[in-house]
Symmetry: C2
Subunit: 352 residues, 2 copies
């Protein structure tokens, strides 16, 4: 899934270039490319399907030139993740009714690649045995209010780390998040799901029948030219819904596999700071030649070979791109959305 | 005079592009071009002579395409202002032994153009009457420790605002500067001098005979091809000396004309802040699209059309160019010189 838009990493992320398309760590690979690489070790490349908004078609082709055209599903409208997952399930089932697949966001970071692959391997085994929906959950290490939490209940027999899902809670308040973490019952939701295509379709049929019936057509509508016409017609009419709400939180057969993957959804500059290597003063410098004097716990990011000198800042974001520069306290990062609106109003779309 | 180098406005000023060559206020004119414009209203263009280091020859020609080649004097070595003034005096005297001229820095700003022209007009009148060296002095409005101060003594008969110079003091300490300002006897030295060419030569003969004798050759050495050969030989051998120290502070016939010209030597970011229009929070924004949130008394400067967002800073410099960005408290600006050295060591000359 790589259709997300977002401005929380402005000026690095832009409407025309959300964060999945950015080389965040200056490694020469964008988050999308890193995600595909991560999956490619387990799944043959010809089985990788990308779903994105049609606005990003060119960017996707540019960043993944090896991916064949018919493996890029283009959403004609933004409808959140539920319709995307349902479309993918039908698209896959039309080719192999027994197929299982993993759905994953393209803009997250996972540091423990081996553990990740092991989790996927065991996850596939689990969902291929029966009609099951499986999430990956991370040990909740801090009361982060930007995350989605999965409450686990009964442990599955013969599995130390797979549990039934009791409930899924989106972005709790601070107090609630602290209770979640203390309870030991909650995991961070990585937004990574494993399932068989037919389990997905069946779950939608049960829990979101309106949406399910729109997509419930003969397999030939999910092939070749017909697919585009069909989707262009049906997609804009469907509701916008996250897959967590649509099926995972409601289904009786939803499970979570707990694994510590060194995961971050990179949802904010703060999250990026948390996961990045720091110097002795807690400063993170991304992709730039920087000289920091008397700085503490800052994050300094630039494009290219620019030299950045910062003196006397604490807990600040300095993010510099070609046509925009942001200097802002990390604690004020929730305001970036409003800032971006202000910029659009004052200076136009080219900067947002 | 436009041979000065300096890094105090880094990253805007660079070794290859000192501040006289920069469009500081985003008006489309560099400080040099503004200075020439200011003088052109009083002095015919064919009488304007520019003295600069040969390193800047191309930049000068580019910025002043109307100036004829023979009016650009190229210093083969940096020797401060005394040899520059002495050379200019000989160069001018070789063409007109009775000529008077004004010597002025090319990287200052003067806001009261009419008062400036009136001061020059009266200054020329004063130095043409007799063998006199005349400085322009500004009312010392604050104990600025970066300036040169002129102590005035006896007022000249029939002149309300021309005084004999008692002494010239370079960059006093804070305490001394406060005494200067309180005394009412000291003026800021604008570094602008009026004199006859032969008065300059005569003053050098008296006070700096070693240097004077090097330049004391027949007028034909100050014309055409011969001049370049002569200067290339003699200039590197001469001492490096400021004109204040060489003659103005020692000569018995040195005077100062007091005038309030809205002058600034733009020697520091702070000086630029002081002279620039501010918004209600005391912020100065130069040449950029800026959005400041909770900022006070900052100076934000960028090249081109870049958008700059700053949140929560007080008394800061934010100076952004193509390949370098500086974020630094205004009070730490004396350290910019060291910062530039650090950058040269770490990242090489291309950034300094």
């Amino acid at each position: 899934m790589c259709g997300g838009a977002g401005t929380r990493f402005w000026p690095f992320s832009r409407e025309s270039r959300p964060k999945q398309f950015i080389d965040f760590f200056g490694t020469g690979q964008t988050l999308l490319q890193m995600t595909v690489d991560r999956v490619r070790r387990l799944v043959p490349e010809e089985n990788i399907i990308l779903i994105t908004n049609e606005q990003y078609a060119d960017t996707v082709r540019e960043q993944l030139p090896g991916l064949s055209q018919e493996h890029i599903l283009l959403e004609p409208a933004r409808r959140d993740t539920a319709p995307a997952v349902l479309w993918a399930a039908h698209h896959i089932a039309a080719r192999n009714p027994e197929a299982s697949f993993v759905t994953l966001p393209s803009d997250h970071v996972i540091l423990r690649e081996t553990d990740f692959q092991e989790a996927l391997r065991r996850g596939f085994e689990f969902v291929e045995q029966a009609d099951r929906l499986l999430a990956l959950g991370l040990p909740a290490k801090a009361p982060n209010t930007a995350y989605s939490y999965i409450q686990k209940e009964d442990k599955m027999p013969r599995h130390d780390d797979i549990f039934r899902i009791k409930t899924i809670a989106e972005k709790p308040g601070r107090e609630m998040a602290e209770i979640f973490v203390r309870s030991g019952e909650f995991l961070w939701n990585a937004g990574i799901y494993l399932w068989k295509a037919k389990s997905v379709i069946s779950a939608f049929n049960k829990d979101v029948p309106d949406m399910a019936s729109r997509f419930d057509v003969e397999p030939e509508f999910y092939r070749g030219e017909a697919e585009k016409d069909f989707i262009d017609d049906v997609y804009p009419k469907t509701s916008s819904l996250p897959v967590e709400y649509a099926i995972m939180d409601r289904a009786a057969n939803s499970y979570v596999l707990e694994a510590d993957l060194g995961w971050s959804d990179l949802s904010t500059w703060n999250a990026l700071h948390a996961i990045s290597p720091k110097n002795k003063d807690g400063n993170v410098t991304q992709n730039c030649r920087s000289l920091l004097y008397d700085c503490k716990d800052c994050i300094v990011a630039a494009e290219g070979e620019k030299v950045i000198v910062v003196s006397g800042l604490k807990d600040y974001i300095v993010a510099d791109t070609d046509n925009a520069l942001l200097i802002c306290p990390i604690e004020a990062e929730q305001r970036i959305r409003n800032i971006v609106n202000d910029i659009r109003e004052r200076f136009g779309n080219e900067f947002t």
